[in-house]
Amino acid sequence: MKTYLKFALVLALIMPFVQCEAAETLNGAGATFPYPVYSAWAFEYNNITGVKLNYQSIGSGGGIRQVTERTVDFGASDAPLKPEQLQKGKLLQFPAVIGGVVPVVNMPGVKAGELKLDPGALCKIYLGEIKYWDDKKIKDLNPTAKLSHNEITVVHRSDGSGTTAIFTEYLSSVCHDWKSRVGSGTSVKWPAGIGGKGNEGVANYAKRTANSIGYVEFAYAKQNKLEHVQLKNKAGNFVQPSFESFEDAADTGDFDAKKDFHLWLVNAPGKGSWPIAGATFILLAKEKTASNKKVVSFYDWAFKNGDSKAKELVYVPLPKSLKDKIRGYWKANGLQ
């Protein structure tokens, strides 16, 4: 009898919490990249409104599948879905926050932000065609730098990731050889180099191996003070990765509500634009109007109040013009 009593007591203790939990919860799943900022926003939003946002960072692929199968209130993906894919899955899509990819190098005697690369050189390094740092192409870009005859160790991601998708999308858009031989995607068949798992894996190899080059998320490069490079953008200027250069890219990027904002933010035309950026996207099931409205009011709140938090976590907030476009898109779909 005693055990039954205990059981009942425990149940009685747990019940109120369970009830609380059920009050109002939005379930989302998808990309790992925006997870820190979504959960920071969700925490503040919960304090203010009492609405709980439960976001599972299971990866973009999983997020797309879960929202297509309608098991979550919203999905999140680092790669934009094409309008016809959205049509097929009866989904809506809008960007939420911007991030980017930064090539990082480890070369004795070369400081952060000193080395200059252009799209052609970066592409040929990753194709394995430029094998040494004193290659003529690199020397021409950096006439003053001390470049010695050292073999380049190329580091890439070994796991499938949105970071790789943005990076290879960039290489495909600026380099014909890359597009025809390798292509773009969350994982690709790398022609050269070694693979590290996750940003930390790539950074670890790049840090440890002299004369290496790798690519990591902007936030990761900044927080770990990795030695980034300057890149030549579409307008022909050499730019450093920074909030300003990312915002410039977002400003000049041609996000179009008619195409459900489908856009790879690579090679943006702005004068000061960092060329390898990308928005991360939210996916909604078209017919679930009631829950969509709640998700939309969360992101509306985040667009109004979340910019400083996003910057603190080294994400680039959407520019105002784009936020207005997204609000228009919500209205057009009867969600606001």
Binding site: E151, G160, G162, T209
Partner: protein, 313 residues
């Protein structure tokens, strides 16, 4: 008869519950097999069996998939880790049961069991941050310098030592499987009747002779069982090697090159597999691993049974 008729309800429900528990295992296995086959049917239809198993192509962009590089990586790392682990594990077991003074038996035994309790992701991170720099800075350059120019053997030690390669992964795997082999070997060594051992000592046998001629023959079935268990673990181990193998879909002859095992590919690529044929091919890989594990365990079981029969005669 009278007893069964009087069986009380607690007894009855007890046997029913145990029966359900046992059958649920079979149902789970069949269920998993069913899911693997149905999820991979798309890839089976597109690539077939022979082509999938013999193709070395793994290109998510062009949507062309083959399993040979993964099967090769799995086989090589498993075999290599067993080669490293078995002598060490059996040495540990012999030391604990026959040689070590009593006060040391406890601490060593506990240490081995603790080794088995460490989560595999810890081995993975330790491998990435600690072992891999040691390998790339010290061990691998030494190996390359010493054996790199030896004919035939030299093929195994070529390339830039990066520390993310088959050798590093195999060493981590071997550390993970040593506890299994060691503790099972120890238990079976302990089963050797003391009388037999004492008789051997009494006629003047040395420790080495006792171990070689009495203990090892007496317990070889148990040791073999331990090795099979480790083999199963090495085949399926994922997180410990996911960080240090590089997920490189190529067949390489050098132990200092990155490679990919089936589990490493699954761990690295499953979450972001964004089209149907890609996902289906990953399930197909899992199915291949399932069949591989099944076949190895079946062969091992067969030999164990045969040996057991021979023994009991």
């Amino acid at each position: 008869m009278a007893r069964t008729a009087k069986k009380n309800p607690v007894d009855m429900s007890f046997s029913v519950i145990t029966a359900i528990a046992s059958f649920s295992v079979i149902i789970f296995i069949i269920g998993i097999l069913y899911v693997l086959i149905s999820e991979s049917s798309l890839a089976i239809g597109k690539f077939g069996v022979i082509k999938f198993l013999t193709s070395t192509d793994w290109d998510p962009v062009k949507e062309s998939f083959g399993a040979l590089t993964n099967i090769y990586g799995t086989a090589v790392t498993t075999v290599l880790s067993l080669i490293i682990a078995i002598p060490v594990a059996i040495g540990i077991a012999i030391f604990i049961t026959e040689i070590s003074p009593n006060f040391l038996k406890g601490p060593i035994g506990v240490a081995i069991e603790l080794l088995a309790a460490i989560p595999s992701i810890i081995y993975g991170m330790w491998g990435l941050f600690t072992l891999s720099p040691i390998m790339s800075n010290h061990v691998e350059p030494f190996l390359e310098k010493t054996f790199g120019s030896v004919p035939l053997l030299g093929i195994l030690f070529q390339g830039t030592p990066m520390g993310i390669d088959i050798l590093t992964a195999s060493i981590i795997l071997s550390i993970m499987i040593i506890p299994f082999t060691a503790s099972i070997s120890r238990d079976s060594f302990n089963l050797t009747p003391a009388v037999v051992k004492e008789s051997a000592y009494a006629i003047g046998a040395t420790k080495w002779e006792v171990v070689k001629n009495v203990v090892l023959p007496y317990s070889k079935l148990g040791v073999f069982g331990g090795i099979v268990l480790s083999l199963g673990r090495a085949l399926g181990e994922t997180m410990a090697v996911a960080f240090v193998l590089g997920n490189n879909h190529r067949i390489t002859t050098s132990l200092l090159d990155a490679a990919a095992t089936i589990t490493v590919t699954l761990a690295n690529e499953f979450a972001e597999a964004d089209n149907d044929i890609y996902l289906s091919s990953l399930f197909y890989l899992a199915l291949v691993l399932f069949v591989m594990s099944f076949i190895t365990l079946a062969i091992a079981k067969y030999f164990l049974l045969r040996a057991e029969r021979k023994y009991s005669r």
